[in-house]
Symmetry: C2
Subunit: 262 residues, 2 copies
């Protein structure tokens, strides 16, 4: 073990020497990422490493306010989303949520807030056709997709949903989809297997036009609590789903490296 | 592209069928993770995938309050920490912090809060000898390591530190290390290259004994602000470093899959 500790000490020291190579950030537009970050012993650029760091940065709220996936990472993000890691990452989050719920004594006012897109329903068929987030968000095309009403369920979220319903928890869907999209969303949820809910809250654009998602969702959750519900949990794919006020007793973030909503 | 969209739709549908295999969670102690999660087309357990999900869960504040790294993931976590991904993940966070700072007009009351362990200094030589977090935290052994005063700098954090100092930002170290450890910590910081600071705040155990890290750090940051500093940024490896009150205008979380402090 002592030899191993020595190895680690040498590795850390080597890490430091690697760091002394200097930094070439100055003067570069920070909007361009990942900027050929040097990795590897020979200082070669390795997209797999760099793009995984980008994805982690998004998930941990270090990288915020981006308008698209970095061009160099589009292939990586696409592979992530259609592969096993995304499934496993989602399952891990939903599992933790269920383990948490099992520690509670559920009452009939207990509610769980679900976001919809990339939380309950998957827009992956849409994003597969739009560079998995490489293109800046195109609301016209996206709304056309929403109105088709064919978004599939995210399977791990559906499993969590079923467990919560079985436990008697009130389900509250809270989405940035607009009131005009309410009916098609309700039908899509049912078709995907989300067969009942306490509330489906869609956005009143006359009130919230120009407001951030965080403001909208905080305000609506506050109203839910004022009605007497207790938000025991809140799950979403955007930090704006789970930050703000009246966030709920515990929040869970599902992975979404494709886009960022404030 | 339409064929690709069809492929994605089929992949998502297959995902859902895979999900219909059922869930075997009931009755199992949730402290045991990852619990042989099925992954892969044949449903085989793949530690690389499962442990990466665990790590992501920790970084995104979905997995909290754990007392050790899951036994099955110790090898994975060890490899992560001594390899390129940890370096890249850290560099990405520090880069974002620097890009953010460059958008600000710095004044002479602007301060940046740094945690110390796993944020500024690395305890990896200690944790390499203690299973990279596989063992529940041993404060006696850990304190003996702290008193050696030989923790190396985390190179990306050191680079960020230097940039902030150059910009005239006041550096505030805020650590759970105790006042008894103040002198050895100051010497260790200097030896590691952190040559100046505005404050090095160590924990007064007569005040904070039995209080959480989150409470301690929130209280101390509040005092800093009451003195007139403006905390423009705050970086740490634990969520308890960057949650609570008076968190700073923007926070950054460095990776740490080894342990969790409330």
């Amino acid at each position: 073990m002592k030899v191993f500790v020595l190895f680690v000490a040498v590795a850390v020291a080597a890490w430091q020497c690697h760091g002394a190579d200097g930094d070439r950030d100055h003067g570069v537009d920070f909007q361009i990422f990942p900027l050929r970050m040097k990795s590897g012993l020979g200082g070669h650029y390795i997209p797999e490493i760099s793009c995984q760091s980008w994805r982690l940065g998004v998930e941990a709220h270090n990288i915020i306010g981006f308008s698209s996936v970095p061009a160099d990472c589009v292939g990586y993000i696409g592979n992530y989303l259609i592969g096993e890691q995304y499934r496993s990452d989602s399952k891990t989050v939903c599992r933790e949520a269920y383990f948490y719920v099992k520690t509670l004594n559920i009452t009939d006012r207990d509610a769980w807030v679900f976001d919809i897109d990339e939380t309950t329903l998957s827009d992956l068929p849409y994003f597969a056709d739009h560079g998995f987030g490489a293109e800046p968000f195109n609301s016209t095309a996206y709304n056309a997709w929403v109105y088709l009403g064919v978004a599939p369920a995210l399977p791990e979220s559906l499993k969590l949903y079923r467990k919560l319903v079985t436990l008697g928890i009130k389900i509250i869907f809270l989405t940035g989809r607009t009131q005009a999209q309410h009916e098609v969303t309700a039908a899509n949820l049912k078709q995907a297997g989300y067969y009942k809910w306490e509330k489906l809250i869609t956005k009143d654009t006359t009130i919230y036009n120009g407001k951030t998602a965080l403001t909208y969702k905080s305000t609506e959750r506050k109203k839910v609590e004022e009605e007497g519900y207790k938000i025991i949990g809140n799950i979403g794919d955007q930090w704006s789903d789970i930050l703000g006020t009246n966030t709920g007793a515990r929040t869970f973030k599902l992975p979404d490296p494709m886009y960022y909503l404030s």
